[in-house]
């Protein structure tokens, strides 16, 4: 059939060969390195902002009333819109970072806010009587919030990957996986496209499972 005809669907062998080609060029590594950097920084930025907003909106009703519609808006707006809007005013290499953050923020924000709101008032009162603010945070508040935070955090990591690659395809920074994929215009190079896709899947799965293992170690105490 069409498999093996490298014009349309490359064979696994051809794909692996392309993977090797990518990994033996400096440009390939630069693309991978910069994309990873963008994912990590966008993700961390998103997590930080999401937690900050969650603390704000769970403690102040006015802030909640003002910001909640914004969260719904951000959640429903396509990421391509954000990327294209940002492209007007921001350096192309930074666009994917911001887009990743924009995707991560509402997810982290919402679950963290819910976790903060649902924490046990009874335990908080107990801690007010018996514990210093630091111990209260460490032993009472965080153990109630972190498990839910971490489970969303590991899901949103995958979303950060997709967001960065998509934004790179649109913003075309000098180096980046999305940039490399976009530049594959010729039908002669589908095996390279498959190679990049394979690499992205492998790296994101690796990253997410690494993250999960780390969390399981950290979360063992709270079971």
């Amino acid at each position: 059939m069409l498999v093996g005809n490298s014009l349309l669907l490359p064979s696994p062998c051809e794909t692996l060969q392309s993977v090797r080609d990518v990994l033996t060029t400096g440009r390939g590594w630069q693309a991978i390195g910069l994309t990873l950097l963008r994912i990590v920084s966008g993700y961390l930025l998103g997590c930080t902002l999401g937690v900050a907003l969650a603390v704000l909106t769970s403690h102040f009703e006015t802030a909640n009333w003002l910001l909640k519609p914004l969260r719904s808006l951000v959640k429903t707006t396509p990421i391509t819109s954000f990327a294209l809007i940002l492209l007007v005013s921001v350096v192309s290499g930074i666009v994917p970072v911001i887009v990743a953050a924009i995707v991560v923020v509402p997810m982290i924000w919402q679950t963290t806010e819910e976790a903060i709101r649902n924490r046990s008032i009874q335990l908080e009162e107990m801690a007010t009587v018996y514990l210093t603010p630091w111990k209260k945070l460490r032993y009472v508040t965080l153990p109630q919030i972190l498990p839910r935070f971490f489970s969303t955090a590991s899901v949103s990591l995958g979303f950060a990957w997709k967001a960065v690659i998509t934004a790179e395809i649109l913003s075309l920074p000098r180096f980046g996986i999305g940039r490399e994929m976009q530049s594959i215009k010729s039908y002669m190079e589908t095996s390279e496209l498959f190679a990049w896709t394979l690499l992205v899947i492998c790296m994101s799965v690796l990253m997410e499972s690494g993250f999960r293992i780390l969390l399981r170690k950290a979360g063992q105490r709270y079971d």
């Binding site: 335990l123 009162e125 007010t128 009587v129 018996y130 111990k135 009472v140």
Partner: protein, 183 residues
């Protein structure tokens, strides 16, 4: 002398305490009784500062260290019995109190795995390891068998001042109270 003067509090439409005044001695065991829903827990919460009264004043507590045995055990479930208690004091005190309450064998079990009566005793141990100066106890005997009631009563009498909410006349006898306040 601890003085409560003209304490009033309402929750929405419901007036719970109206110009309530009383005095507590500096030392001894004081019982607090009254029918369900009358405001016993509310009064304890006001004394430990978890609830603000709408009006009224409390004097004589400023320099004292207050601990509370809540109506529910309120333990940190993922920590062991010993960790729950030593978190508010030190390990040595915690071990001593847990032993006094017959919890030597359960000390290193997670709170989540303890029975209701065991949790109640851990909660008692926590209160006393934090402070035996002023201890507010909301039905501390609930879920305890006779043997453990005796142990708990013995511990409660070691407090400088214990204010104990109880419905039960025999529990009151067990504590040989110095004063009884009826709401």
């Amino acid at each position: 002398m601890i003085k409560l003067s003209d304490i009033s509090i309402r929750f929405g439409e419901k007036q719970v305490l109206t110009n309530f005044s009383t005095q507590l001695p500096d030392r001894g065991v004081v019982l607090l009784s009254g029918e369900s829903g009358i405001g016993k827990t509310t009064l304890l919460r006001i004394l430990c500062g978890l609830t603000q009264p709408d009006s009224g004043t409390i004097t004589g507590l400023e320099t004292r260290k207050v601990s509370v045995v809540f109506q529910e055990p309120r333990l940190i479930e993922h920590l062991t019995a010993l960790e729950n208690v030593s978190l508010v004091s030190d390990r040595k005190t915690a071990v001593r109190l847990l032993t006094d309450l017959n919890l030597e064998k359960e000390m290193n079990q997670r709170a989540a795995k303890l029975s209701g009566g065991q949790k109640q005793r851990v909660s008692l141990a926590r209160a006393f390891s934090f402070s035996d100066d002023v201890v507010l106890l909301d039905e501390p005997f609930s879920g305890l068998d006779d043997q453990n009631k005796l142990r708990a009563a013995r511990l409660i009498r070691t407090a400088q001042l214990a204010l104990v909410v109880t419905h039960d006349a025999t529990d009151a006898e067990l504590l040989s109270a110095d004063k009884i306040i009826t709401l």
